[in-house]
Point group: C2
Chain length 270, copies 2
């Protein structure tokens, strides 16, 4: 299978650099084809701006959405953006790998998302009306592909637990999992998270690689997070709120994940 | 009072540009002193890397934390970082203003946070041991100052509601509110969010300015979000999980907000 690894760490001789190399080797050994976008090594341009189009709409003020739409439709996108879109289309699975900085992805990777996720490519896809709100959240250009995060964090696992002070890791990653992966159609795999990165000796590193290796071996068989597709009846349109009879009374990002047993028929068969 | 406005939009003739100008005028008219960091206009360097130190630790591999610590301690930080830290120290209140892109802040602003929030300045402050986990979450360099977001979003308010498909706005902003503002000590004000930015006529713009103007007038009197301070007894240390008797059985980022009436004594006096 084809796998794109997008890597965002400034130092190759870091834990993240080592895990990148381990990941590439493991996947190649399993017979996969790998492309790597090493954003720091590529000197990736982070800020989205008017220079993302080779030729601007003349005389208009810059509009992030409309300029992206125009450039995507007319083949006027900056070449670095086109190359990354081609890699995404080529890939059967995409891995984003990064250290958690201030509870989210590094700026350089956020800028990769903002620039590569063009209007018409990752959003603004499909019919947009008051009856249908586009092909997104389970549908879209990247549907049928898988996506997964490999993340390192300095804090302890308990700090990111359900009652941990940093907030639960699932909630912190929800904007990426649901908003960046699921939105343009990816199936989203549970993340691989390494905690307490300040204290990694050889034994722990071996244990981390062992667990990561298993996850990579199961990249195409692991069950995705069962997010609810937007256009399969679970949501009111155009309000885009979860229908009252689904997960009644519950709120929060978690309601967008189907819970076990939900949807089972009268006989419980499913 | 002194107010720092950090603005992240590439086009001055945008809704965000207009709201920036309105904000500056309103605050100046009220007698405040304003400094503006207009990140796109400043051509702010987004990626954190080894060039953030004027002089590197010789021979060492680049370590984002240790290099930041070394540069901060020894006056070796890049001048653009020093200038922003000086603005933060000068300010009584800080406003971050940006369009919500892929459910978070634009890359250029994330890069401002990553580079300006140095080790020793915004993290790694105070005693770090198994008995005390630093001065953070309510304490730290920026304690006593206020912070607030001004955010624009293309989607409808219902899409960001408690059961909205994008996830509740409070959960999406939690990594910024709690993780970027509260962590180094800020008091965090409720955000000012403008929804459905694709449909703004003159009447709606006037209404938005009216509501924003009120929020700016009350910048120093609005009650902050009552996050729980890390070092006042609510958390187990070093696990940094909320003590079992507080918000018992509850989980999620919301548990870190004190709820109304909580902590009232036997007689309800507080």
């Amino acid at each position: 299978m084809n796998i794109l690894l997008v890597h965002a760490h400034p130092e190759p001789r870091s834990l993240n650099g080592s895990l990148r190399d381990f990941t590439i080797q493991r996947l190649q050994a399993a017979g996969h084809s790998i492309q790597v976008s090493d954003l720091y090594a590529m000197n990736w341009k982070a800020p989205l701006d008017a220079d993302d189009s080779i030729e601007r709409r003349s005389g208009e003020r810059f509009d992030p959405s409309l300029d992206s739409k125009n450039a995507y439709e007319h083949g006027l996108q900056s070449l670095d953006i086109v190359r990354e879109q081609e890699k995404l289309l080529w890939a059967d699975a995409v891995i984003l790998q990064f250290p958690l900085w201030w509870f989210s992805m590094p700026a350089i990777l956020k800028g990769w998302v903002e620039r590569v996720y063009a209007y018409g490519f990752a959003y603004g896809v499909g019919e947009h009306s008051d009856a249908r709100w586009g092909d997104r959240y389970g549908e879209g250009t990247l549907a049928g592909k898988r996506a997964m995060l490999i993340v390192t964090a300095g804090g302890w696992e308990s700090h990111y637990g359900p009652r941990g002070i940093n907030g639960p890791i699932d909630e912190l990653l929800f904007p990426i999992h649901h908003g960046i992966f699921y939105y343009p159609g990816f199936d989203v795999l549970p993340p691989f998270v390494v905690y307490r990165t300040g204290r990694i000796d050889q034994a722990r590193y071996a244990e981390i690689c062992s667990r990561l290796g298993e996850r990579l071996d199961e990249l195409f068989s692991t069950a995705p997070i069962p997010y609810r597709p937007q256009n399969a009846g679970a949501y009111e349109i155009p309000d885009l709120t979860l229908r009252a009879e689904i997960a009644p009374g519950q709120t929060g990002g978690g309601v967008h994940v189907e819970s076990a047993g939900e949807g089972a028929g009268p006989a419980g068969s499913r």
